[in-house]
């Protein structure tokens, strides 16, 4: 099977999955008490039933559920995610404005956690009785058990308030001027703490898994063969063992993609990172249904794309996946 055909089949599956996500999200939101009319009347300092009804009619909230759902799906199919009553902006624009910040945070955290996790895992697997192994085990346990918002706040206090290495909040400093690289380094400086916070929990997972996976692989017959060929330790570990040990780690990383996104909500809140998480948080408070639905839709999209990429990465690492006939 060619890669193109696999991608095509996956895209078809993804479309069906997205439709299910849409229906489910919309139904759930509909079941929740309160709507935008309540919020508007609250901000007006209260309103009588007549005005409430008027608002509902003007936003189409008086229609039966099934009609509202149908309209919503038809709109999404045309890439129209609706209009945010709270922000007075089209939802898609709102999301696309925030999406890059979240993607930057999430992808940086994932990739850093993966690379550092695998390196730590390999180091501790090579010397299971060495001090480095205990250090990695401790780090992993700590990273996994500490709640992200707590880690985030601790890092903030230590590295922003006490030693002033990194900025406290936000994604860029509006006061600085300069070319691309000035802004690049500014964003990078802002990114460090949130990415470390978000990555810490996944670093723990990846380092433990790659350690276990590597130890298993190092004990296998083909590693003995590789040694019997007279290859150097470096070649045995990084060429023969690592490629085999990576498959479960990549699979886990793919599965964790959704968890990273939800973790991002908390981390963004702690660091005032202007991403989807902050937006989701604010729109839930404001009962801004179209925005919430839009964010959920985009999250589903990101997870599906992430899984597809994972699948392709697995194929690169392990030729047995998907087998050539």
């Amino acid at each position: 099977m060619g890669i193109l055909r696999i991608v095509l089949i996956r895209v078809l599956y993804a479309a069906a999955l997205l439709l299910a996500v849409l229906v489910l999200n919309f139904s759930l939101m509909h079941l929740a008490p309160g709507d935008v009319a309540d919020t508007i009347s609250q901000s007006m300092g209260g309103a009588d039933q007549e005005i409430l009804d008027e608002i509902r009619v003007s936003y189409g909230l008086d229609q039966p559920f099934i009609i509202q759902l149908g309209k919503y799906i038809a709109n999404v199919a045309q890439f129209d995610l609706g209009y945010s009553f709270f922000y007075n902006q089209p939802v898609s624009r709102l999301i696309l404005e925030r999406l890059p910040a979240t993607l930057l945070l999430v992808i940086t955290a994932q990739i850093a956690a993966l690379i550092i996790g695998v390196v730590l895992g390999v180091i501790s697997a090579r010397k299971p009785k060495g001090i480095s192994n205990y250090l990695v085990t401790f780090l992993a346990l700590f990273g996994y058990s500490a709640p992200v918002f707590w880690t985030g706040i601790l890092l903030l206090i230590t590295f922003s308030l006490n030693v002033h290495w990194f900025p406290v909040a936000g994604m860029r400093d509006v006061t600085i001027e300069g070319g691309f690289w000035t802004h690049f380094f500014d964003v990078a400086r802002h990114l460090v703490l949130p990415a470390v916070t978000l990555g810490s929990i996944f670093l723990a997972l990846y380092s433990r898994l790659s350690r276990a996976s590597m130890m298993e692989v190092l004990g296998s017959d083909y590693i003995r063969t590789a040694k019997a060929k007279g290859l150097s330790d470096h070649q045995v570990v990084y060429k023969h063992a690592l490629k085999n040990a990576l498959s479960p780690v990549i699979t886990l990383a793919g599965l964790q993609f959704s968890a990273v996104l939800s973790g991002a909500v908390l981390v963004e809140a702690v660091f005032s990172w202007p991403g989807l998480g902050t937006l989701a948080f604010q729109s839930i408070i404001a009962r801004d249904t179209p925005t919430i639905l839009g964010i959920l839709f985009f999250s589903a999209l990101v997870v599906i794309v992430g899984n597809l990429l994972t699948d392709l990465a697995l194929r690169l690492v392990d030729p047995r996946v998907g087998g050539r006939e």
């Binding site: 296998s220 003995r224 060929k229 290859l231 085999n244 047995r320």
Partner: protein, 329 residues
């Protein structure tokens, strides 16, 4: 007299287990001449594979170690050699084929690459030259369409083909010694015969000495000039294959030969069932005791057997047996 290619002297290997330290190879001496085939025979756990791993310097780290003795290869002691020196010898002067062709090849590297990397590591060939040489080697081990198959992964090959690829890999640098650790145990009987044929032919072409570790007495008779029978980490008997099969001087060898079934043998009053060697192999805790370790299973048992470890008895025909009763047999 010519110096043997490999001269193992009083080799003792200790294995650390939960119950303590056991000598899994206990005072083993043998030599291997250039171009000769020497076969190791014995039940599972008797130390055949341990000996092979020790020759390669691949004893399991932290568990097994050479506690005394020498492994002289072309006069230099491998038991004392550094890792770097051993790496230069492994895969180049001494190489090994393993029992399980299914798991002994790396599943995520192509066959061609796995052969070519040996050539690059030891002979400094370029990427392209090594690949072409790998294809030639696949052809030499009779894999059809070697050019196409070189790019295949192990999972795309059958068990027999994988073992052929393994042999190609082991022979890549024209080693002086090829250690074959039960090379056919995991294969079909028809494929077994092909692999032995192949090994025999390649030996004639390359002149490599072969250490053949096997359960298969038929293969020993066909392939090897000399054989060593191992029992519980010790040498039981050593000598030319024909003579040992014709007249074993150790009760264990005798038992092993008797239990080989023959397709044409008829059931008779003297042989009405498949023969077996009664009893079981002693546990690791028994290893190293100063007595004959085969005593509990032996029909020639006397008090002398329990009083001390038997000394090797040398016979005029180069046969030697570690048994108090060797002359009586």
């Amino acid at each position: 007299m010519m110096r043997p290619l490999l001269d193992v002297q009083n080799l003792t290997i200790e294995l650390t287990t939960r119950d303590g330290v056991a000598p899994v190879i206990d005072d083993l001496s043998f030599s291997l001449n250039a171009g000769e085939t020497l076969s190791f025979v014995g039940e599972s756990g008797c130390g055949k594979s341990m000996t092979a791993l020790a020759l390669m310097g691949l004893l399991p780290a932290n568990v097994g170690r050479i506690s005394s003795g020498h492994i002289l290869f072309e006069g230099a002691d491998l038991a004392q050699a550094s890792d770097a020196r051993l790496r230069k010898i492994r895969g180049n002067d001494i190489s090994m084929i393993f029992q399980e062709p299914m798991t002994s090849l790396n599943p995520v590297l192509t066959i061609g690459e796995q052969i070519a990397e040996v050539l690059r590591a030891h002979q400094g060939l370029s990427r392209k030259a090594a690949w072409e040489q790998a294809i030639a080697l696949l052809d030499a081990v009779r894999i059809p369409n070697p050019k196409g198959r070189a790019g295949d992964y192990p999972f795309q090959m059958s068990g027999g083909q994988r073992q052929r690829a393994m042999i190609a890999m082991a022979l890549a640098c024209a080693p002086k010694i090829l250690i074959a650790d039960e090379p056919t145990t995991a294969l079909d009987v028809t494929v077994q015969a092909q692999i032995f044929d192949l090994l025999g032919d390649l030996r004639k072409q390359t002149g490599a000495a072969i250490i053949l570790i096997t359960h298969d007495m038929g293969a020993v008779a066909e392939m090897a000039e000399r054989m060593i029978v191992m029992y519980a980490g010790r040498k039981a008997e050593l000598g030319p294959v024909d003579q040992i099969i014709d007249h074993p001087r150790h009760p264990y060898t005798k038992g092993l030969i008797e239990c080989v079934p023959h397709i044409q043998s008829e059931l008779s009053s003297t042989r009405h069932d498949l023969v077996e060697v009664p009893g079981i192999v002693p546990s690791l805790r028994e290893f190293g005791k100063d007595q004959c370790l085969f005593a509990s299973r032996c029909r020639y048992l006397t008090e002398a057997c329990l009083a001390g470890r038997p000394k090797p008895k040398e016979f005029a025909n180069a046969q030697s047996a570690d048994c108090w009763h060797a002359e009586e047999l």
